[in-house]
Symmetry: C2
Subunit: 150 residues, 2 copies
Amino acid sequence: MLKLTKKADYGLMALKYLAEHPETPAFSAKDLADAYGIPPQLLAKILQRLTKTGLLRSHAGMNGGYALARDARTISAFEVIHAIDGPLFITSCFKGAKSCELTPSCTIKEPLARVNETIAGVLKSISIQDLIEHEPAADKQKLVALTLGA
Amino acid sequence: MLKLTKKADYGLMALKYLAEHPETPAFSAKDLADAYGIPPQLLAKILQRLTKTGLLRSHAGMNGGYALARDARTISAFEVIHAIDGPLFITSCFKGAKSCELTPSCTIKEPLARVNETIAGVLKSISIQDLIEHEPAADKQKLVALTLGA
DNA sequence: CTGAATACGGACCTAACTAGTCGGATAATC
DNA sequence: GATTATCCGACTAGTTAGGTCCGTATTCAG
């Protein structure tokens, strides 16, 4: 069905929330979970993962919590999704290094790999900041090149 | 992980195979399954589904089998995926009519919906025929517009 | 008319994955 | 040292994906 996991959704929501409140030094996992009605312990694990991949900075203790490690404009949706859901493969084939068992019979792998790159490109072109600024802006249109040639 | 199901892969492979052999009037599910080492009964069900959605024509009895219902150029990868995997939703939210329970707190739904449309556009721009012709062709590059504005 | 080849379609099984929970350890602040 | 946090692994329940089995209907050849 080509859909993100809820975890990725939650992660994006949390990052967006942090980006929307730059004045506050840090939010605890519970704060963020309450803001969206997300199970706190689940969100906590997501935030921990985002911390480990360097997208967030964490601080334990009172008045601790999470904050963006970088500017919201420099964090792409792709990074968030990749950190939480792992590598992005549109094909069920090539999971990592070992190509699919059907090779060389699987002939659609190569064309779909380009589709995969295109989708990744789309997600890379979207920053957390973009999620906030969703005003009508025809000049903000972005063009993504889809190359089918080998 | 944002990936297609194997069923969709199998469907695309089968359609591509049919498109590559226009001279043959029909291939049985078993023929196609043998060509790729796919479980025959699984592929059979996929082909049946593609028939029901009008992408294939079927014929029972001896020398029966499946054939493309339309020209390979007019069948998009999107149609195939949609027929097999169902509607394409990148967000875990809005499954069909009922929006996610987090509404209105879920604020990323709207921006991601546009990403969703972009990806759908990419898949719609790719025909079965395109899967066959994967020669280096810079002039075959396609541009996909990604609009983030509301 | 009979039988082989084929499409059709439901029921079923199993492994994997997703979402979420629980419990405890560590760390920082007051 | 009590409180507020992050951290992290183990566990459970529900869903989905992938695949199988079996019976029925349809078409064609001999």
